[in-house]
Symmetry: C2
Subunit: 264 residues, 2 copies
DNA sequence: AGACGCGTTTTCACTGAATGAAAGCCGGCG
DNA sequence: CGCCGGCTTTCATTCAGTGAAAACGCGTCT
């Protein structure tokens, strides 16, 4: 046939969903087709099906957007809402005590994804978005997630060029490696003006029986608070959550490691 | 071929996603196949592609769950996180003032979907879940959403049997119709022990330029607070949000209609 | 130990769901 | 009016998808 034989229908459908981004949450059919690299009629047909099911919605302006139905399904992700559901009360507490930004993130490959954020109106503005991604090497949550990530992941991140956000951002792999060791030793991370020059974050790991699965942090104005004083607070929040996830429970017989067959 | 000719690949993929539910957020391949009504090999192939993309994830136990990637995409739904993002600070405020449950919901066809919920540790337990659905005729948010829904929707809901949750649940269409009129007149809804005998909720509409798009509510112990006293608080929150959504902005092309029956 | 049972993965010959070029449609604009 | 850009439909062609059946793994029962 015409374009790329070898492309599955499923991959096309997924490409259509992937066309949306925080920067362009609504798209026209033509934009969708272009971004998903599909001929217009093909896009048209798949999109129609997605709309019928509710994965996409069509606005009065004719533009397409992600539908509520997909949001509903997405909210069943254990690492998304499941985690969030558990964490929110504790995040609330942290927020109420400090009135600073509270963030919750997990690692997804070589980046982090923000699962939840409580943004105090009076706190330093942060440029993160729930569902948004960020590099692992700069933020507090990122440092924690990286420090406890599998070695392969760490090596891969350390091998790639580390993006600089401020004059203080650590971009030297050797220094970063040392920082990660410190984080593991201390059990928390402080990221001082690594992303913006006005903010500082204190982060702690969240564990389940298999290891570190998420990180929680407080983002404060860099000149306002004493990070070392706040660390125990954040650590405590992390531990409460870890306990809720069963991290300190007696490992009831090791889960047999299921050898994954490479690919299909 | 074998099963149902006429079933598109896309519909199969969507059926697989739809197999997950709050009650069963993780499934084995066989369960997935059964629920999606697909032969096992077919399910296996589609699922493999979904996992490769990140729409599904496979746990160490071999069970499948909704993947973080799908959660990310879902979080781009304007009626989901978009709305939530805007609402959360105001919900925080409501929570901090009252320490009661705060809920945000939109209507999806003939049900409501909870977009956000702040559950106070000290507040009445509520049985709702973010991403969960509920009937329109009982809760505070439901009454508001129904009161301002298109007539067809109201008729359809009133025509169907209204499920009873407590002895006080309104199940008589005639009474419900009267209640809806009251809600529109008052500009807020009070749902007293309609869902459980210990809770009561006060809800107000949230508008954008096209009408009511969501509802916000406070859920309190039925014997604890004076709902009429709390109503202005909830209404104010609704109005702040409506303003943020551009509800009271000059409709660009349209002549501003100053209705005599100004709705709160 | 061997045999059974259950869930998953792979094989393989067949076919209809998907395809896209081209033509038709619609609504806005000069 | 006639053009233009974006959307929708048609239709002959074909490749991605299919599922019965068989192989595979793994835990459990005898």
């Amino acid at each position: 046939m015409g374009t790329q034989p070898g492309r599955s229908v499923t991959s096309k459908v997924l490409a259509l969903l992937d066309a949306f981004s925080p920067a362009s949450p609504t798209l026209t059919l033509s934009e969708l087709a272009r971004r998903a690299e599909l001929p217009l009629p093909t896009a048209h047909r798949r999109v129609a099906e997605l709309v019928a099911w509710g994965a996409l919605e069509r606005g009065d302006d004719g533009r397409y957007r992600i539908g509520l139905r997909l949001w509903e399904v997405g909210s069943l992700a254990p690492r998304g809402l499941g985690l969030r559901e558990l964490a929110l009360p504790i995040m609330e507490d942290l927020y109420e005590v400090t009135h600073e930004n509270v963030q919750l993130a997990v690692r997804q490959n070589f980046e982090l994804v923000f699962i939840e954020r409580i943004a105090g109106r009076r706190a330093v503005p942060v440029l993160t978005r729930v569902g948004g991604r960020f590099a692992l090497h700069a933020t507090g949550v990122g440092l924690v997630l990286l420090a406890y990530a599998p070695t392969e992941v760490q090596e891969q991140v350390l091998a790639a060029p580390l993006e600089r956000y401020t004059a203080l951002t650590i971009t030297d792999p050797v220094r970063l490696r040392r920082r990660l060791a410190e984080v593991r030793r201390a059990g928390y991370a402080i990221s001082d003006r690594q992303v913006t020059m006005d903010a500082l974050s204190i982060a702690a790991p969240i564990r389940d029986p298999d290891g570190v699965v998420a990180a929680i942090s407080l983002v404060v104005a860099h000149d306002r608070a004493d990070p070392v004083a706040l660390a125990p607070l954040v650590q405590a929040a992390g531990r409460v959550l870890s306990r809720a996830l069963g991290a300190y429970r007696q490992p009831s017989g090791r889960v047999p490691l299921r050898s994954r067959h490479e690919r299909q």
